[in-house]
């Protein structure tokens, strides 16, 4: 008997939590706020990682690895950075356990107390800039273009799988430049890399924008971001790229001699995306039946299921699918033939639907006799009976069509969900439906905070490609330089 799953319209948040577990992506661990990423979920993350890693390398970056631990005093070196990160970190105070005297297990050995506590990195600017000090003497040592794939820890009180967890996986780029211009160019370049990845691989449309001062990264002079919209009308920040100015170079005393031999502080950027993207991917496309994965990130792109009664039928159908195996491999399409005899076809259909496998092929004895095969696409749930001959090329095109179809769907939805408002009443009314609200704002943190307090909506970003348009702040009526995007957000 089929288990009843929560639908998106019933309870979006419950639908998401159930789906993450149903599709075997991740689960909560016994360690508060930390998740276990299960093999199927991790396979999707690996695909994301591989694509991003290649994009980073193509833009001249190399990977490296810096320590997990940060001496407590480093955090304090950059004033706004410590404000942002000191409040939510895991602190290592001791380096040894010993047997409890009452034999009840192990206890912390009080004699093994660290002189200075170590923080499990919430982000690595401080430890990295402390290293860069020794790496940089002259302009010849610049730029430094480094990325690191790592786990980070930010103590979170309320956690949700992928979206907000105490430990998460991410990449953090940390670059050092001789000029502010070059560092700003790097900041934009990496924002564009993220946007390209989100749109072309995740099939998720994004708005490129700039954060307001109060939403900036702690220690940044400018934070660029990509913002996406989930199906429930809430926004999700999918990636950020920061221009750090000379803040960290000053905090860690990193100077270089320019061509004239003059000593200058180095200019910095940092940029990152995390396993949060998994949450975005799931919420952007999936439906009540399960995951919908864009083909370019699907660990299994095509699954084939045999339908048979006799051993003879099974052998004949298997022979057909075996032929396809090599053809798919040659085209670089990941193909799985599920010939497990312990499961019925119906169970398998439902399993791969839940897991979002883009294309499902099925073949029964009658198809076999007629040289036919059934092709079902996950996104629209359309099924067709086609000639077996030439099916691989057909599926190849179908996958590419699905990739753009999924993107266009999300784009239509996103575009329909941007509402321009001219009054605060209209603002509040529009907010009921979710989506982005494009409104004038007077540019002050005070107004921004007030609106947040009244409506829970925050300024997601000041879009980069927006036309200049003077107006009046939707809340205060004061002059505004242009519209910004508000939304409730993850």
């Amino acid at each position: 008997m089929a288990v009843k799953h929560t639908k998106r319209t019933e309870d979006y948040s419950k639908w998401y939590n159930e789906l993450v577990q149903r599709a075997d992506l991740a689960e909560h661990s016994d360690v508060r706020g930390c998740m276990v990423i299960k093999p199927y979920g991790f396979a999707i993350w690996e695909k994301m990682k591989d694509v991003l890693d290649e994009m980073f390398k193509e833009t001249g970056h190399s990977n490296a690895y810096f320590p997990l631990f940060i001496p407590k005093s480093y955090l304090s070196k950059e004033a706004s950075h410590v404000e942002g990160f000191a409040k939510e970190c895991a602190v290592v105070t001791h380096y040894r356990l010993k047997n409890a005297e009452d034999g009840s297990g192990v206890v912390v050995d009080p004699t093994a107390k660290l002189e200075e506590e170590l923080i499990v990195r919430p982000t690595s600017e401080t430890i990295i800039w402390n290293s860069y000090r020794n790496w940089i003497q002259s302009y010849r040592d610049l730029p430094i273009l480094i990325n690191q794939w790592a786990n980070v820890v930010r103590w979170e009180m309320r956690t949700r799988l992928f979206l907000r967890t105490t430990e998460f996986l991410w990449q953090e780029g940390h670059t050092a430049h001789a000029t502010a211009t070059e560092a700003r160019e790097e900041t934009s370049q990496m924002l564009n890399v993220y946007a390209k990845f989100a749109e072309e691989y995740m099939a998720m449309p994004v708005v490129k924008g700039r954060k307001t001062e109060s939403e900036r990264f702690a220690g940044a002079e400018d934070t660029l971001c990509i913002e996406s919209l989930m199906q429930d009308g809430k926004a999700l920040q999918a990636g950020t790229s920061h221009f750090l100015g000379q803040n960290f170079a000053k905090a860690f005393d990193v100077k270089f001699a320019d061509k004239e031999g003059k000593l200058e502080h180095v200019w910095a950027t940092s940029w990152g995306v995390s396993t949060r993207l998994m949450g975005a991917l799931i919420m952007c496309h999936s439906d009540d039946e399960g995951l919908v994965l864009p083909p370019r990130l699907a660990p299994i792109q095509v699954v084939a299921i045999p339908i048979y009664r006799s051993e003879e039928e099974f052998i004949a159908i298997s022979e057909c699918f075996d032929k396809l195996k090599k053809e798919f491999k040659d085209k670089g399409i990941s193909f799985k033939y599920d010939d497990d005899d312990n499961r019925r076809p119906g169970w398998k259909f439902s399993e791969y639907e839940t897991k979002g496998v883009p294309v499902r092929l099925a073949m029964g004895p009658r198809d076999l006799a007629n040289g036919k095969i059934e092709v079902a696409r996950r996104d629209t749930k359309e099924k067709e009976i086609l000639n077996f001959e030439g099916i691989v090329s057909y599926v190849e095109e179908l996958l590419s069509e699905m990739q753009s179809g999924i993107f266009n769907n999300a784009l239509d939805f996103r575009n329909k969900s941007i509402v321009e408002v001219e009054s605060f009443d209209a603002f509040k009314e529009a907010l009921k439906n979710g989506g982005f609200i494009s409104a004038h704002w007077d540019g002050t943190s005070e107004t921004e905070n007030k609106i947040k307090e009244l409506t829970q909506a925050t300024i997601r970003c000041i879009p980069l490609d927006q036309k200049k348009e003077k107006g009046e702040c939707v809340y205060t009526g004061k002059p505004s330089e242009g519209r910004v995007l508000f939304a409730k957000a993850y």
Copy 2:
């Protein structure tokens, strides 16, 4: 002026430390015992990772990710495991910092004390088996074949770059099986994967063997290992694969229903290699001039250097090398054309020699006029002037010849360094020269410890493919079932 570097014969350990830094592989961080893996070092590690990851996947394993933190009580659940790991771990006791009242920075917030301390994973058996309990109900859920790439922390008092650091990177496989036989087969299979990787990619010959009881992994019933020999005659354990029996299943209450519905504890294995392999790779092949890398793991396999005076010469030579670029790419050979005008050819020659780039191509105006090119191989330092025509195919073969040449050199050295001894005097005498000492041992930990105490040599392994040969223990004279390999070790 050339800096004088320490030679291997002068001080092997100093030579190693200098080389790791000279070749830009890694450096100590300010955090005690933690290293920074620099881009060139990380690029080698990435190549290792990619190859291993593919080998794991080919043998049916998937990647997943488990939490960094382990509740303190988990460690105590498996009795010998806690003995092995409690002594050297980083303990998280608090989850927040706050501003110091005297304005001197941040201090640990005493109100944010964890109820139960968290240990930064020294290895993940406990947290993983705690998850497996919920994943396994019946024989249908088995086997579970999972690997994780992760950072781990073991508090070390004396550290050396790559060889022994407080934080290191590794992979840890954790598998669950229905039968002891299957788990033992997995243990051997993964040992063979490691041996194949070490020999075919790292060009490092290894002895496959079994650890004695006292050298076993804490919690294992059987530990298999690959042991290699460094140029200074010291052994290095390069990888281990453990048969864990039902120890962790019992500690975490993981049972499955077999086909008859009977509940049984699950059988386990775990296996791992770490960034320690980087140390092995360096010490196995490198020479006084710098790194020697086996071509299959070299981030840059071929470097090309132009030698020119005029702009005209530079352009003509660059055109030649540009032609090669595509040809190398098509063959999957990584090629770098170093046309940096700020560095002299001599500086470049020395730089790439230090970094162990296998093949160096150079071309000057005379070569250009004659249709010639200079080819220098890093391992033997031989140089040849060859026809430019057909050079890519020549280099392709050369790389493959170098790969086996480097392996054979190391194999010759290793084979010459295994000495059979029949008396304890001969044992001590042989030990002066380093290498493996093949000797009879009475099978007791007592004798093993006594020999270690007297000579610092430990039993590296009981070789797997050794012929049965009865004899007398080299120390006690008691009966022995076969020879074991002793050595001083890293």
